[in-house]
């Protein structure tokens, strides 16, 4: 009985033609694997699956933390309210805009930095990498405060330093207008996380076989041709990982917006809406519904990224 169960369990992993009974050693290793991975798996379930399922359940109620007696089952009512409200779509639009603009700029800048780091002299390579990574080492809240104080109309120095730039003067209140505020928020995001992308791309760049670029060079390929026909196609997996990680990160942006504008004047993002609804308003039901929608958006981003780049990550790991 147990043998047949194991055989069924093994079926998808091995082709039928090569199926063989597991040796005692293999079984023992498998058991050890379960024991070693089991606790981590249970902890993962506790810290991810449980909150997600709880949020799903809570989102079906009209429930305010300071009015526990008024708790009422409303089914999908909270979702209907959210999806029919312009505020949700505006916040989603702002979030998507921040995600697209920051990821595209970071990708371009990050690639340029990766090229610089890759071709820098060995003597300065270590220093260069450290210098480039400094912004990424700063805690997001700290960098958000630094950017806020730099641009703030009362305490900031940007207006006086850049008064020679058209459109900037001592009366410019960066955080009182949607576009200027979003520009500062996005700039701080780009400044902080470009090093992360550049590091991922540098790893991808290092994996491109030197023979390929040399062969292309010998064949008379220009710099751009080598880049577009040889290097970038061979870095697809690294680019995908960089884009996916950063897109997810950017979509969940919170700290910068919270510190600089607290969502005022058209700068609110989805995670801030979820926070305000759950934590500030203490509307647990509605807040959970916003969080579930945010979660669904994140899954969609993952799906799109994997489909768009058509990269088989299991292949990259040597799974096949």
């Amino acid at each position: 009985m147990s043998t047949s169960v194991e055989a069924v369990r093994d079926a998808p992993a091995k082709p039928a033609a090569t199926r063989q009974p597991l040796s005692d050693r293999a079984k023992a290793e498998r058991r050890l694997g379960f024991w070693l991975a089991g606790p981590a798996f249970i902890i993962m379930l506790a810290v991810t699956a449980y909150p997600i399922l709880l949020a799903l359940w809570e989102s079906l109620f009209k429930y305010r933390l300071t009015a526990p007696a008024d708790r009422e089952f409303v089914g999908l009512g909270n979702y209907a309210t959210i999806l029919s409200d312009g505020l949700f779509w505006r916040d989603l639009g702002v979030t998507v805009l921040i995600t697209i603009i920051t990821v595209v700029i970071e990708l371009i800048l990050g690639f340029a930095l990766a090229l610089v780091m890759n071709s820098a002299l060995k003597a300065v390579r270590g220093w260069l990498r450290t210098a480039i990574l400094v912004p990424y080492g700063i805690i997001t809240v700290v960098s958000a405060f630094a950017w806020f104080y730099a641009f703030d109309i009362n305490s900031g120095y940007i207006n006086s330093w850049f008064a020679w730039v058209p459109g900037i003067d001592s009366d410019l209140n960066w955080f009182a207008d949607t576009w200027t505020a979003l520009s500062v928020i996005m700039a701080s995001e780009i400044w902080k996380t470009t090093p992360f992308i550049s590091l991922l791309l540098l790893a991808g760049l290092a994996q491109v076989p030197g023979e390929l670029t040399e062969a292309a060079e010998v064949d008379g390929a220009t710099w751009w041709q080598r880049m577009s026909k040889v290097i970038i196609p061979n870095m697809k997996a690294a680019i995908m990982v960089a884009v996916l990680f950063r897109a997810l990160d950017a979509f969940r942006i919170f700290d910068n917006v919270y510190i600089m504008t607290n969502g005022a004047y058209g700068t609110e993002v989805l995670s801030l809406l979820a926070y305000r609804t759950s934590i500030t308003r203490l509307e647990i039901g509605m807040g959970s519904a916003v969080s579930v929608l945010l979660f669904i958006c994140v899954i969609i981003i993952c799906f799109i990224a994997i489909k768009l780049f058509k990269v088989d990550l299991s292949g990259a790991r040597g799974g096949k």
């Binding site: 009015a67 007696a69 505020l87 109309i153 410019l172 955080f175 009182a176 934590i279 203490l282």
Partner: protein, 440 residues
């Protein structure tokens, strides 16, 4: 079979070992948590950040109790909204450590309605509210019952630069109106200090304007959410919007107005463009400290005057904003009697006077204003006391947060406020939010 036996043996040994460990841990924990027979209970006081005054009072009252209790303070977050969130979460979770809490007046109904606050014994209520200024007392009530003990009260007054008022020909010995303040600042090409940021301070301003014009933001504050009647869409609401809009559109609040809070408006007032400002009494010690540090000229102190908050209509009373802190006891506290005993000690007029002179927070008790040293430290104390008599609390309803956030979103930036449409739009939006039909 022998393999199974070994396995079972190992399991039994494991179970025994685990049971032993759990028992040992439980014994350790119980020993650690246990209190000695007869030891004084420890009361936890959740305080809002200050200059150390509440911790000092906790120490004094611990000593004064003669060993009946020990008060330990636990610091809440910086801003009022975060303080409210933490207290609400702890109270909802049934935290037994909520012995004494420093509560912002507009949040009192939200805790009182679901029964999160222990009832104030009648004798305690009678003793601690005797001589309390009218505005401060209103902020400690829910459904006409005292549910928290007034500790210190805060109010906004009108600060002005004597030189600007004189140049504008404004007689500051008489009550002034918003129109007069606006005209004076405009004639001198100066900025008016108001709080136009999308924050709680905007609700404070709008509430004071509406109340000064004889209106009410909420007409039936103790009604359920979907039955609340708002009074924003009214003549008073329009007058309030007119003031906000004029200051915003005419640029009278300065370029920083849309992000201006109490602190930033004070900094603007201290500068060359300062003229008039509505703000709390903290302005006085803060300005004096800056002058002492040499950051501001000494002549500034002599140029600063104070008066009651501007009225909306000439000849009518003003309705200044009310703030401060009340003390409440959590309904899950294990020592409510001792907590109320401690509160009586904390809010004694002597302690309120001490707190005023050392931390700059005005007393809620009229008697405390007569204490020695107050007149020297706060020459404007009589104005503050008169202001507290006239002060009107923000809407005392469990749904204050929704109403406040709704106002913040619809009345900012001030330059986009339209007296003909904003009050009505604001009211419609808040009502829809309260009915659960709209996101906030």
């Amino acid at each position: 079979m022998p393999k199974d036996a070994r396995y079972v043996g190992r399991t039994r040994k494991g179970v025994r070992a685990a049971s032993g460990a759990v028992l040992a841990l439980a014994a350790t924990l119980l020993t650690g948590c246990g209190t000695d027979e007869g030891a004084a209970p420890t009361l936890t006081w959740y305080i809002n950040p200050d200059a150390g005054g509440q911790a000092e009072l906790a120490q004094q009252c611990t000593e004064a109790s003669g060993g009946a209790y020990t008060i330990e303070t636990s610091l809440l977050p910086n801003d009022a909204a975060s303080q409210r969130e933490q207290l609400a979460r702890r109270l909802a979770a049934g935290d037994k450590s909520m012995d004494i809490m420093s509560l912002d007046p507009p949040n009192v109904p939200e805790y009182a309605e679901p029964g999160y606050l222990a009832p104030v014994p009648e004798d305690v209520a009678a003793r601690t509210t005797e001589g309390v200024l009218e505005g401060a007392l209103e902020g400690a009530k829910w459904k006409d019952k005292v549910v928290a003990v007034p500790f210190w009260a805060n109010t906004q007054i009108l600060w002005y630069r004597k030189s600007v008022a004189a140049a504008a020909g404004l007689d500051m010995t008489q009550p002034v109106t918003w129109d007069q303040v606006i005209d004076a600042a405009q004639s001198q090409d100066k900025y008016i200090g108001v709080q136009g940021a999308r924050a709680e301070s905007m609700t404070v301003w709008v509430n004071a304007l509406v109340a000064s014009a004889g209106g009410e933001i909420v007409e039936n504050p103790d009604a359920p959410a979907d039955e609340l009647k708002l009074g924003l869409d009214s003549k008073a609401g329009k007058q309030a919007a007119d003031v906000v809009s004029t200051i915003g559109k005419e640029g009278l609040g300065g370029p920083g107005l849309p992000t201006q809070t109490e602190n930033t408006s004070m900094i603007q007032f201290q500068g060359d463009q300062g003229s008039f400002m509505v703000n709390y009494p903290f302005v006085w010690p803060a300005t004096n400290a800056s002058v002492e540090e040499g950051a501001l000229p000494a002549s500034l102190i002599d140029d600063i005057g104070w008066a009651l908050y501007p009225a909306m209509n000439e000849g009518e009373d003003t309705a200044p904003p009310l703030g401060g802190i009340n003390l409440g006891v959590g309904s899950n506290s294990q020592h409510p009697d001792l907590a109320f005993e401690a509160i009586e000690c904390i809010v004694s007029p002597e302690n309120q006077a001490q707190y005023f002179t050392t931390n700059g927070n005005p007393p809620s008790n009229e008697e405390a204003y007569e204490a020695p040293g107050i007149a020297e430290t706060f020459p404007m104390a009589p104005t503050i006391r008169d202001s507290l008599e006239l002060a009107v609390p923000r809407p005392q309803t469990p749904y204050y947060n929704e109403i406040s956030t709704g106002i913040q979103q619809t009345w900012t930036p001030p330059s986009e406020v339209n007296p003909d449409t904003t009050p009505a739009e604001s009211q419609k939006f808040i009502v829809e939010v309260l009915r659960g039909e709209k996101l906030l």
